[in-house]
Every structure is written in structure tokens, then in C-alpha cells.
Point group: C2
Chain length 326, copies 2
């Protein structure tokens, strides 16, 4: 059996409340009593149970982070920084990869209501929006619009489009393919993709959208999208898309004997570590992952600890990674 606070109190000959004071370094306890209690704790090898604490304090100290795919470089990088930030602020991180399954997302929303978690950072998006409004517990959205009342973490989409367009136009590219995701939930991708098309048109280039598919985050899906792209745009000379999508296009271009960046330019959006580990560093628009993670944590804790109504969350600025692919 493992010792409880009552066992310690009994052995030390004091009351539970005094033991509690010692455990939490609160109030005033005489040196002698403290000494007795500490001896008893040591003897019984006592560790306070978080379960009792949690019930009493009505909190778990856990924030859940829900993403479509835990191993995807974008999400795993976000997770890394978010966990770090949460840990620093005294919280633990629960993680969930939905792999696009609605029921999993729903299950985690229920856990939020059941107080398994104190708050959620939502990076997946298969649920209908109304679902999120049914609860008024702390939720923050990552790069997607859920409702007016749910704060969202995002980078500056217009800036991304401008920078990407600038890079390709500077190289004189005119036949562009843009790898886009299927828009199931209003997210900010659409804004970015449309702005990009408009800017390229102004520069005299035409853009063809190629869909990567719905909730597509696997290597195979990216590879298939790349094949579709080259089949559909035989004379493509510029490609823009997320890191993984562009990398798949690099492989496909290589297979087809097309040289990058001589014959075809590629700009990766996200700029996670995978753009820096190959023979060639990709030219990329880099999302500020650590800042995004910290903003997300900050927002969810503002909702939780300060009961903030609609905390502000400015779009974060991106930067260009000068690479060799454009």
C-alpha cells in the first residue's frame, strides 16, 4: 500500500491539515512539528497524490493539443515548443493525433468537458464548428477559424503570399503550380492561396491549383499530389506548397530529369527542419513556430487563469529562408 496524508498525520501525531501545510509550504508550522512531519513522510516514503489534489482544486493541470498527425514536421515542431512552454508555466501536455477521424476529435472535446484537461489547443479540424460553441471551456485554434469567440494562432497569410510571389516573380517564373489543401473548415489557407494567385496575375504569371487532398499528411498522399501536378502542368516552372508537398515535388522533378532551380523554382511554405536536412536547403517562407506555440499557450492560459473573454492574438510575421531551390 502507498501512504496517504492521513497515514503521515497519524504517524507524526498531528492533523492532516498541518501535513498539508508542510507539503505546500504554506502558513506557519513550528520547526519541531515540521521536523516530525518530515521524518514521518520520509519513513512512509510519502508522495502526495495528484488525484486527491486535482479533485479538491477542480483542475488537472493538463492542456491537450490535438493535431492531425503527430509526426508531421509542422505539428511535431509546434508540439515541441508548446510542451516546453507549458512545462515552464507549470502545465503538462496531453497529445492526440486524430488522423482525420472525427470521433477522436469528439472524444477529446468530451474529455475537456469532463475536466480530464483544463484546456485545448486545436490543430485538427474535422468537427463542425457548432460543436466548439457548445462548450465554454478554454479552446484555442491553430491556424483555423472556429468561431468569433475562439482565439486563433496564425501567421500573416498576406505576407506569406507576397513573399512567395516576390521570390518566383524575381526569377521570372510564369507557369506556377500551387499545392493547396481541400478547404473543409474556414481556415486561412484560402486567403493566402487567393492572394498569391492575384499577385502572380499582376506579375503576368498564371497559377494552377493542385489539391493535395483532404486531411492529407502522409508521404504517399504528397507523392501522388506531386505526380498529379506534373501531369497536369507539363510546362510548370514554379511550385509553391508546404514543405512536405514541395519535397515530394523535388523528388518527382528529379525523377523526370528536371533540374531545380535551373528549370524549375520551388518555394516551401512552413520552413520546418525538413527544408534544411537534404543536399539542398529549400528556399522557404518560415513560420515562427516557437512564437506560435508560445502564443497558443499564452492564449489558452489567459482563458483559463484570467477568464479572459477574447484575448487578442495578432498574426505573427514570417521570414524568408534563402535557399537553393528558387
Amino acid at each position: 500500500m502507498v501512504a496517504s496524508i492521513s497515514d503521515v498525520a497519524k504517524l507524526a501525531g498531528v492533523s492532516k491539515s498541518t501535513v498539508s501545510l508542510v507539503c505546500n509550504n504554506k502558513g506557519y508550522v513550528s520547526p519541531e512539528t515540521r521536523e516530525k512531519i518530515e521524518r514521518a513522510m520520509a519513513e512512509l516514503n510519502y508522495t502526495p497524490s495528484a488525484l486527491g489534489q486535482n479533485l479538491k482544486l477542480r483542475r488537472s493541470g493538463i492542456i491537450g493539443i490535438i493535431v492531425p498527425d503527430i509526426s508531421h514536421p509542422f505539428f511535431s515542431t509546434f508540439l515541441k515548443y508548446a510542451e516546453k512552454s507549458l512545462y515552464r508555466r507549470g502545465y503538462k501536455t496531453m497529445v492526440c493525433g486524430t488522423a482525420g477521424r472525427q470521433d477522436v476529435e469528439e472524444a477529446y472535446l468530451q474529455m475537456l468537458e469532463r475536466r480530464t484537461m483544463d484546456g485545448i489547443i486545436m490543430g485538427a479540424h474535422s468537427q463542425k464548428v457548432e460543436r466548439y460553441l457548445r462548450t465554454n471551456r478554454p479552446i484555442v485554434a491553430l491556424d483555423r477559424f472556429l468561431s468569433e469567440d475562439i482565439p486563433v494562432v496564425r501567421s500573416n497569410k498576406a505576407q506569406i503570399a507576397e513573399l512567395a510571389a516576390g521570390l518566383l516573380l524575381k526569377r521570372g517564373r510564369r507557369h506556377i503550380a500551387q499545392l493547396v489543401s481541400s478547404y473543409t473548415v474556414p481556415n486561412f489557407e484560402l486567403e493566402k492561396d487567393e492572394t498569391f494567385v492575384r499577385l502572380m496575375a499582376q506579375g503576368g504569371a498564371e497559377v494552377t491549383d493542385v489539391s493535395v487532398g483532404y486531411n492529407a499528411f502522409t508521404e504517399e498522399q504528397y507523392a501522388l499530389a506531386a505526380q498529379r501536378l506534373f501531369r497536369r502542368c507539363p510546362n510548370v516552372d514554379g511550385i509553391v506548397g508546404t514543405d512536405m508537398a514541395v519535397l515530394a515535388c523535388m523528388a518527382e522533378a528529379h525523377r523526370r530529369g528536371l533540374r531545380v532551380p535551373e528549370q524549375i523554382s520551388m518555394v516551401a511554405i512552413d520552413g520546418t527542419y525538413v527544408t534544411r536536412i537534404g543536399e539542398m536547403t529549400l528556399t522557404a517562407i518560415v513560420q515562427p513556430m516557437e512564437a506560435m506555440a508560445e502564443q497558443a499557450v499564452d492564449l489558452v492560459l489567459q482563458l483559463l487563469e484570467e477568464g479572459a473573454e477574447r484575448p487578442a492574438s495578432p498574426a505573427l510575421e514570417v521570414t524568408v529562408q534563402e535557399g537553393e531551390s528558387c
Copy 2:
């Protein structure tokens, strides 16, 4: 205020236990009573609190997974499959990236004792081994030896060494550099590295060890190791190391105008997705990540649910990924 089970009981005019039965679909409840209770639950928008449940049941339903770096492809892939497996078996996943800090690892071991988690899968390794013996709560080690009593998940190291040696010898490589980690805790790397050296010697090749460093998982550390490698082994014609280390060597070779695989062969050990996303698919020894994750989950739940003493855990077999780098 949020409704508790007592509120529901009161409104429905029944006792708490009956409400509990309905919630958990246990025992027999008359249709009429059930009906009344369900109506009350709906009216109060009742959701059972996990905090009360947890205290009563003395469990949290959470398994912690501790790794050095959440975004590293090996660990993020492991995490993805482990979370999936845990979810399927009714558990939630808490995640922690230690970034090599002992105090973080210690903090999570304490949480295990405080019952924040029901068990731990330990993929990091900065603590002294004795620390793990102080607790008899469920712990499983990932690819490292902690003690006789702690089950370990690992792949067949001898097989890895044999396959890697075979690949390089078949290409006639004689000047090999092996990227190794610093050995702080007895893990199975050492066994693999030594076997590899022996096999290569039998084949008439010499092997130089190049250390990546202690707890080295960042891009910069890999890049520096690659530079050291080429400086120290100017006539190297074969390299073996983990995915990320080998990728850094690919970049460095490219910078030095060395062609892979014509002048130099590379074999990546791990074979995670990063070996398949560049222009070139790397020749790799592939660890069975999903099987490793499932074995880890299985072991930790055997310890937890069945109180197993020393559950068996056979080393898992690896496979070769035929690539273009060797």
C-alpha cells in the same frame, strides 16, 4: 456552475448510485428511472467529472512518454504510433521533451509517483539508473537498459550491424566512418557499433568512430558532426549513422563536391520518413516503429493492468530499405 452527479440525482429524484449506474451502463435500471435520469442529465447539461472518477478509481488513465526531442523524426514517429495504440486501448498520452535536462526527467518521474500518470514509457536517459529502481510503478524503457526489472523495447542490434556491414562491403567500401552517440547510459547502441566494427574488420575495412555528442538531436549538432567527420576522414568512402546524421553528411558531401553513391556510400539507420522525402531515397535499415510503439504500450499496460512481473519483450526485426545512397 457545472452540474455534479448529486444535482442530477436530486433533480431526477433518485440516488447518486443509480445515476452512476446509468452513466456507466452497469447493473439494471428500470426503463422509467433511466428515462428520468437521462432527462435530468440533459436538462442540467451534465457531464461526469473525470477528477472524481480518477480519485475514486485511483488511476488517471494517462501514460506518459518521455523523449529527448519531440520533433525528432524517430521520436515523433514513435509518439504517433504509441498515442494511437494507447488511444485504442482506452488511455491518454502525456508527452514530455526533456531536451537533455535531468530535472525535467526527474519531475516526470515524480508525477508518476504522484499518480498524475499510470505509467511511463521512457525514451530519454539522463537520470542515473538507481533513480528508476526507487519506484515500482510501471516503467518501460525505449532502446535503453535501465535495470533488469525494467522491460525494454528495442530492435535487433546485431541484425542492424550485419545488414549495414553487408551493404557497405557489397559496394567494396573500405574506409568507413560511423557516427555514434556518446554513451552515457548503457544502451544497445554500443553493442551495435562494436558488432559493426568487428564485421567490417572481417571484411577488410577499417572503421572510424565519429561522435555526434551527448544528447545531440539538433540540426546544428548533426551538421557539426558531419564537418568533423570529413575533416577527420578525408578518404572516407562509406558512412553509417542515424537518419539525421547521415542526411547532414549528404549535405556536407554535396558541399565538398563528393558524389553519392558513386564516390561515397551512405547507410541510414532508423529509416524514418525523412529518408524518403528528398530527391534521393536513402539506403536505410528500417526500424519497425509501429511494432516498437505497440510493444511499448503492451508492456506498460501489462505491468499496469495485470501486474506482470517481468513481461517478455523480444528484440524486433529490422528491414532494409533499398535506396540510392549505397
